[in-house]
Symmetry: C2
Subunit: 572 residues, 2 copies
């Protein structure tokens, strides 16, 4: 491609609407343009990157035996009634009526349609395993679209759905996809981690997120460098690094007047102790029923962990009125001793405490030297904490660290969640009809682009991994009007193209400085400069975008050298 | 691919919903399944064909210098207000509101979005020509979706839009696309014709349709084998083959009582003449104004030609009441003599008539020996007839023939229709701001598949052109449980794959007859049969789907022979 024939509208100024680096650079480098809130055009350069990622995904999915299909975006409401997601999904689900007033959904994912396909076409255990995938537009009416294509309302997703005859085979299919995902993100040249994750809206038994590591990432992952354990913050389990005081003798329980002291900080200052020696009692309504959760004063309750443990559809903190009703005291004085009408769950770290402070369910009163079992009963100790830096790994006990990342893929072990509600059955070898066991697997293609930029950039612009760069090579012709420079540039351009090198020739009538800036901004891995030095001395300057390394090669070495650089950087 | 790993749910029975051969075969061969009215899943085999067509299109578009982009399907209503299509499009346009109650359209085409892109990013004449395309889902809420994927409500379209600095350059861009389309449909292996067509809803100055010739086609094209002229029925001009009687002397006009005779047949029988000697007077309201159109009694008025000539947004036949008001007579007796308050246009064939019959604008009365100029005035003679078999070519005078076909592509010279309403301007070389001149170019990918099947099928199933067949070769292993047959089949399967041959191995535990039937049904061009004959005699039977030709080759010749057949059939 010659630059003059392309459309690469680079910008000098950072557009005001952009808040993160990938969004800024995608606009500046002319990869995308906004159409409306959360809706973007991918311009030719952006499309090239998108299409490379699409092809890497397709190749690896095909290699993994998945079957590509195409399902309509318009998905009839009837299927969504069957799974109940019509009611559950809320406003994020875009809905419309056709001319006959029938309800349709713009698919945000395609479990309903693909399960309908499977229950019709898969009849016997012999027909499985099957894994159907498509690469198409998805729609989610985000309440606050942001970060450019990272959280947009329409986006291309590769979504795959596996169908198996039993749990064991389904786990094999899951592992197969897990490996395919590792290959895909490796081939894209990304530094990423596969982490255990929460299943969220999609549901199912377990899931992994594929996170591209980037300091600017909006997600946090907790990982153990010793044993490799990694999970997103919402899912991560950990052991509190504080050892507790479980060896201490039990002291005598005492009720103390703590006038006006109701935050952890106030109470521990007043009682001259530490947050680690206080136990907070947090009161919730889970699907309309009261429940109490205890965590140490220096820990934070992880609501999702509590909700998941309870299997509740809805978990909300009690209102001040509800707190008064159940604890018989104003907010700030609830405690497990004397609390009735609800179950009490405590975080594992509480189990190591003795002689701690708790609320007394009475205005301005706390107990000191409280102890579970002796003074009150805990229904169960479970993991309820938000894991923190310095916590210990539940698998190996080593120290955990936290990293920022961007989720680009998500795999879910769905079990029979959808096949049950939609009656997706098959005839098994033993002659019995059974439910298919499902998995689903998504990759957000635009997110991969944005994450690659978050991971690869400097003050001058984007630094693409070779595999997904829009072009491998940019030829910067310093003065293309000069006949000799033009002839030389054109001949090298043609030669490289013949060798399968993807090359863009900057043939614009612009200054060298301007062209160099644009080349850096759009992040092409290899730059070849052609000016008088090339014409007169036969020396071609090569500059590598990633390292900044510069060197000159002779004409006859040029294309071999370039091919070598490209091959070295491509992950196969 | 091994058949057992694929999903190819062939059907024995023709599904009741299908009315045309391509729809029947696409269902029977397991290419598609219906999701809802006008909405289809493309199953793996159908997707393979789709994807081959997509790639042929992409390659030829890229070669033609067009730039691939990706525009959102959700398109903000504001852009549609600008062009007025929000109001004009009617119920076919699918509309929805987002959570903030803003109006959006599911793009049926993308003129609005792409013109908005062009007016923002194309600034100077130096930035043109530009041609942007995408290959994505489109939406049209057809009142009666039918013929399977041929007329569905969601379909993938390649839509391209060219922007040029003036008419001359725009025509160059048009020609460039016209050539690319010829290459695309040639490479797809289709027998097609590019025909002049009406611009319809999209508007603009001229257009071509690319029609795949098939007896079952819903469109008619008129073509001249002598000079190559071809046009669709709505657009075709022609010369009536009847020579008329223009040399006759003018006879005396007479008013005749024709009681109760008001159809052409009744009147000519009563007057003992022929339909060719009668002139029908048809009364219309064009945008609310009355107009009369005259055609010979044996010709049919082509309403679209009249409407286009008048430049009317709406053309409707007068109601009986309106006929009485304007002609002062009941329906069936209108005539040009004495007709006032409206213009009168006549078909060119009327110009050759003398002494003909017309209505007298009086109940039960006709004139005989009427003549224009002498008795009444014609405002203009124009082409108003539906062309018929046997008509003569307007370009060379040779006889025209009509063919049935299926429209798979459409190119439009848009002029400044959209750039004017949307103010898509650029700075020209002379320092003046001018409107960009546009063209647009569409291909319906699913229509290409259906048309290929309409053109290529027999009583046993589909006959694919090599270039878009889902697989080049099917290996029918007669008894795959037999160790020797399995080993031989697998080794040939691997060998062919290594050579880049796309091959499916039918490894199912089914009878030979069943497998042969399925192979014919899904239409794979080359079948290799592997049974005892192959194992014992080293002879491999090859059968070609298209010709039915069968022959045997030796092991060592097999892959060369297969490659040779494939190459011969591929259009490059």
């Amino acid at each position: 491609m010659k630059w003059s024939k392309a459309l690469i509208p680079t910008l000098k100024e950072v557009p005001a609407e952009a808040d993160i680096i990938s969004h800024k650079l995608m606009l500046k480098a002319g990869l995308i343009r906004k159409v409306a809130s959360g809706l973007y055009n991918f311009l030719p350069l952006g499309f090239k990157v998108y299409y490379k990622i699409e092809n890497i995904i397709r190749e690896e999915m095909d290699k993994a035996g998945a079957l590509e299909i195409l399902m309509p975006i318009l998905s009839p409401a009837e299927l969504w009634y069957e799974t109940g997601r019509w009611g559950l999904y809320g406003k994020e689900l875009m809905r419309l009526k056709d001319r006959a007033n029938r309800d349709f959904v713009l698919g945000p994912t395609h479990e309903e349609v693909v399960t309908d396909l499977a229950r019709t076409e898969i009849k016997s255990y012999r027909d499985m395993p099957k894994n159907f995938y498509q690469i198409r537009n998805k729609f989610r009416d985000e309440i606050r679209p942001r970060f450019g294509v990272m959280r947009s309302r329409e986006f291309v997703m590769k979504d795959a759905y596996s169908f198996d005859r039993n749990e064991f085979c389904s786990e094999e299919s899951y592992k197969n996809m897990f490996e395919a995902y590792n290959k895909i993100f490796n081939r894209c040249g990304l530094n990423f981690r596969a982490v255990e994750a929460d299943s969220g809206n999609i549901g199912g038994s377990f899931s992994h997120e594929f996170m591209v590591i980037a300091a600017s990432g909006e997600d946090t992952l907790i990982s153990c460098s010793a044993c490799g354990y990694a999970a997103d913050k919402e899912k991560a389990e950990s052991i509190s690094a504080s050892s507790g005081n479980e060896k201490e003798d039990l002291k005598t329980l005492e009720k103390i007047h703590t006038p006006g002291q109701h935050t952890v900080e106030q109470v521990v200052a007043f009682l001259k102790t530490t947050p680690a020696q206080l136990v907070k009692t947090l009161l919730y309504m889970a699907d309309g029923k009261p429940v109490a959760a205890l965590v140490k004063g220096d820990d934070e309750l992880h609501e999702i962990k509590l909700q998941r443990f309870l299997g509740a559809d809805e978990l909300v903190m009690m209102t001040a009125e509800q707190v008064e009703t159940y604890s018989k005291a104003p907010v700030g004085f609830a405690g497990p001793l004397g609390l009735s009408g609800m179950k009490i769950f405590a975080d594992n770290a509480v189990a190591k405490l003795r002689n701690f402070v708790i609320g007394a369910n009475e205005k301005d009163m706390h107990y000191i030297n409280a102890n579970f079992d002796r003074d009150f009963k805990i229904n169960k100790f479970i993991d309820l904490r938000v894991p923190g830096e310095g916590d210990l790994c539940v698998k190996c006990g080593a120290a955990l660290s936290s990293l920022k990342g961007i989720v680009v893929g998500h795999t879910y072990k769905l079990g029979t969640k959808y096949s049950k509600t939609m009656k997706a059955e098959f005839l098994d070898e033993d002659g019995k009809r059974k439910l298919m066991v499902m998995g689903c697997y998504g990759i957000g293609l635009a997110r991969v682009i944005a994450a690659a930029i978050e991971q690869g950039n400097d003050e001058n612009g984007i630094i693409w991994p070779m595999a997904i760069a829009p072009y491998h090579v940019i030829i910067t012709a310093l003065n293309y009007k000069d006949e000799k420079i033009k002839a030389l540039s054109d001949s090298i351009y043609e030669e490289l193209k013949t060798q399968g090198v993807e090359v863009i020739l900057d043939d614009r009538d612009m200054s060298a400085g301007f062209k160099f800036k644009d080349a850096e901004l759009i992040g092409i891995p290899v730059r070849i400069t052609i000016g008088n030095k090339a014409v007169n001395e036969g020396l071609f300057e090569i500059k590598l975008r990633k390292t900044g390394e510069e060197f000159a090669v002779k004409r006859e070495e040029l294309s071999n050298k370039v091919t070598e650089i490209i091959l070295k950087e491509q992950v196969k």
